[in-house]
Symmetry: C2
Subunit: 195 residues, 2 copies
DNA sequence: CGGGCAGATTAACCTATGTTAATAAATGAA
DNA sequence: TTCATTTATTAACATAGGTTAATCTGCCCG
């Protein structure tokens, strides 16, 4: 089993993963390699997989009212990404997922997910905690977004995610923060002149 | 067992709840009645419970940078509300929860939550799906918030939650939407004149 | 090595929302 | 009922961020 994944499982489940489980897990997933700009998922299709990023990076997005890209999530190595609503319901996905770099992912479909969770309680717990944490930080981020200005949001993002800053183009970070690339440029300039 | 709760469990777990489970569940929770403006939770304390609203309504909020109230969630009858980060970690809560009306809640502490989930798989599943859905809609709401204008957000909120509109003061809805009460007033006026 | 394209910056102007302050309407307690 | 308090509205002005458009930078690929 991939080391990143093992660490993720042990970290979030709070338990250590037996060799046996690790082997069993491998039977439920498969690996895929994608080029930069390749799509892991296209909005409108049903999302049949959850993806674990082994190397590279990708992001999910939707088209807003005006047809512009609205970034929803970034995923570097060690992150899971998917359109969960579609994955769990089988309905058409609202998001697309695109690779930012050449990317390797592990893929797991719904049947495998259900089976793996039933077979290994540690996984059931792992995914529950993962989603729980994602929900909690989403809720917090939402509160910050509605109460703070773009400059503060950018500063917090840059502080929290220095690794993202290196590898993700600014115009996508701007979208994620809910502003135009031009505005982000302006904000960066202001911040630079403050020091 | 309360009927709202039974329906919620059956709806989200996708299974029907046996009489036996229903009785067993009751041993894990207790009821509390609160006045309007009473606090279910005060920011800074540890959040020891999750609350299921039986009647009345409440909302969670935090103080933003300027010390203003930033609404995080509303909960009418049939909703769960808590500070999950604090509930699961035991750390101090970032949110407060206040009753909007005289309110009756069911309360469940962490030990009870863990026990109940272990004892009854239907509950484990219920809470997982509940959080999963909450996460999914939070992510979607976030994308809408960063890409759409206040007017659209208000219209969508009003359409999706006509029940909230009747019972929640406008200045709290404004906070939830990330705008000032004055701006919401202005937006409502514009919308009214459009018809 | 050089042309083309994606990404970033800059600037001028525009608009939605914030701010401040005053008033009005609704609610609730005595 | 009346008064006090909370909530909602209105208006004038300020500003963060959007829009448009032009320029700049770097880098990928032929």
């Amino acid at each position: 089993m991939n080391d990143l994944l093992r660490k993720s499982i042990e970290l979030y489940s709070g338990q250590s993963l037996s060799e046996e489980c690790a082997l069993q897990f491998n039977a439920f997933v498969f690996e895929k390699t994608l080029d930069k700009k390749a799509l892991l998922l296209e909005a409108g299709q049903s999302c049949n997989y959850i993806f674990f990023v082994l190397s590279g990076s990708c992001y999910s997005y939707l088209a807003d009212r005006k047809g512009d890209t609205q970034v929803v999530q970034f995923a570097l190595e060690g992150y899971w990404i998917s359109d969960l609503a579609s994955f769990f319901s089988g309905n058409k996905s609202t998001y697309s997922i695109e690779c930012l770099e050449p990317t390797k992912v592990l893929m797991m479909n719904k049947a495998a997910f259900e089976q793996a969770c039933s077979a290994m309680p540690i996984l059931e717990r792992y995914f529950r905690v993962l989603i729980q944490n994602a929900y909690v930080s989403m809720q917090y981020r939402m509160a910050k977004t509605t109460s703070e200005e773009a400059e503060d949001r950018y500063t917090e993002f840059a502080t929290r995610h220095p690794d993202f800053m290196q590898r993700i183009p600014q115009y996508l970070i701007a979208s994620y923060l809910g502003i135009q690339p031009q505005s982000l440029s302006r904000i960066r300039k202001q911040l630079a002149s403050k020091r």
